[in-house]
Symmetry: C2
Subunit: 225 residues, 2 copies
């Protein structure tokens, strides 16, 4: 499906393409398509040749890996307005993860080769790409650090604090994905997540109403994480 005016607006405001000129932007988007995925539907698998990068327009995409045993580890959850697989574009090789929709999801699929062509002539864009990839590197280093140096409770707390909107308004977090997905994202079992939340509740650090979690003492939790 072709990309509508409205969707173009959204693509333009995302960080990746924000600073492109009119004609450059059009060049990248011209060959792009819109895809709509059903819940659970496959976008690509680990090992597939990498031809496109994507921007989520609505819904959620899960990036994960699967162990030989069949167990899966969620590497990232990509939401509306965020790009993914841009970092992989350059090796030209293959996607390092599986991508699946978690719910009905609309996304824009943009062709690597057109974007690469653009980069060749736009040093400034290159630098911004480098910066964003550097940020990803930082993020991944952080992740490793958390997985090895922090307990499961600390990781859960860290995740909750990350989800917190910046304003120091009512500190509440909405879990928009099923808990077992979050558990995998954190590298723990659903049961463990459940127990950790129960414990935090018992200590009055959080209150849980359905899928929203109220953080009663952000400072205390920051000290713990």
């Amino acid at each position: 499906m072709e990309i509508s005016i409205l969707d173009k607006e959204q693509l333009k405001t995302g960080y990746l393409l924000a600073a492109l000129g009119e004609s450059e932007f059009d060049a990248v988007v011209a060959h792009g398509t819109i895809r709509v995925l059903a819940p659970g539907e496959r976008l690509f698998d680990q090992g597939d040749p990498c031809t496109h990068f994507f921007c989520v327009l609505s819904g959620i995409v899960k990036l994960c890996r699967v162990a030989p045993s069949g167990e899966e580890k969620v590497m990232d959850l990509v939401r509306k307005g965020h790009y993914f697989a841009e970092a992989v574009m350059f090796m030209g090789g293959r996607y390092p993860v599986h991508a699946r929709a978690l719910e009905v999801t609309r996304l824009a699929a943009l062709e690597n080769q057109h974007f690469l062509g653009l980069l060749r002539g736009n040093g400034d864009l290159c630098l911004r790409m480098l910066s964003s990839m550097s940020q990803r590197v930082h993020g991944l280093i952080n992740e490793i650090d958390h997985l090895t140096l922090h307990s499961s409770a600390q990781r859960v707390i860290g995740y909750l604090l990350e989800q917190l909107p910046q304003g120091d308004a009512p500190a509440s977090v909405r879990l928009i994905v099923p808990k077992h997905i979050i558990a995998s994202r954190l590298g723990i079992q659903p049961e463990t997540l459940s127990r950790v939340l129960a414990k935090l509740r018992a200590e009055h650090l959080i209150d849980v109403h359905d899928d929203t979690i109220l953080l009663n003492d952000v400072e205390a939790m920051r000290r713990l994480s």
Copy 2:
């Protein structure tokens, strides 16, 4: 200390600067300096402002993080001919890890700003940088995957296989860093590493002589990892 002709050769053959023209290369290296670190000496700390990137000329640099508890996790071991902290250059911000010499180590310190200036005028170099950072992203994703989806034995085996020189010559690995550093690199305790190696030895998968390890059945180990 200034950079000698000999060291320049080494810098030039490293992947980062390999494809620079004569004048470009000189521009980057002109403001660079050589540093010699004693074993254990600090190069920079996590949180220090990021002003330089580095190339190891001899010796080994350890990149690590420290938990609130004081325990440390080795994120990477950088050896002769390899660059580090180039990925961080672009955010301009701060180093995300501590850097320490493990033994007497010589390295070249190059200024971010000169390299960035160069990138601005060299789209091709930009693309190569992007590719190398993409590789780093892949590597880190792999690492996370191993830390969450694989047992300690599998990680040890994976590490040994990684260290293997490509040729299918005698499959032996030389452990050039102390075992407890490798253990941290793998996210396990030294005792556990010792036990894993003992077990592999008992199963005749490896032979250990001092600090060199002979892999008797690479295929079998590949299946296990």
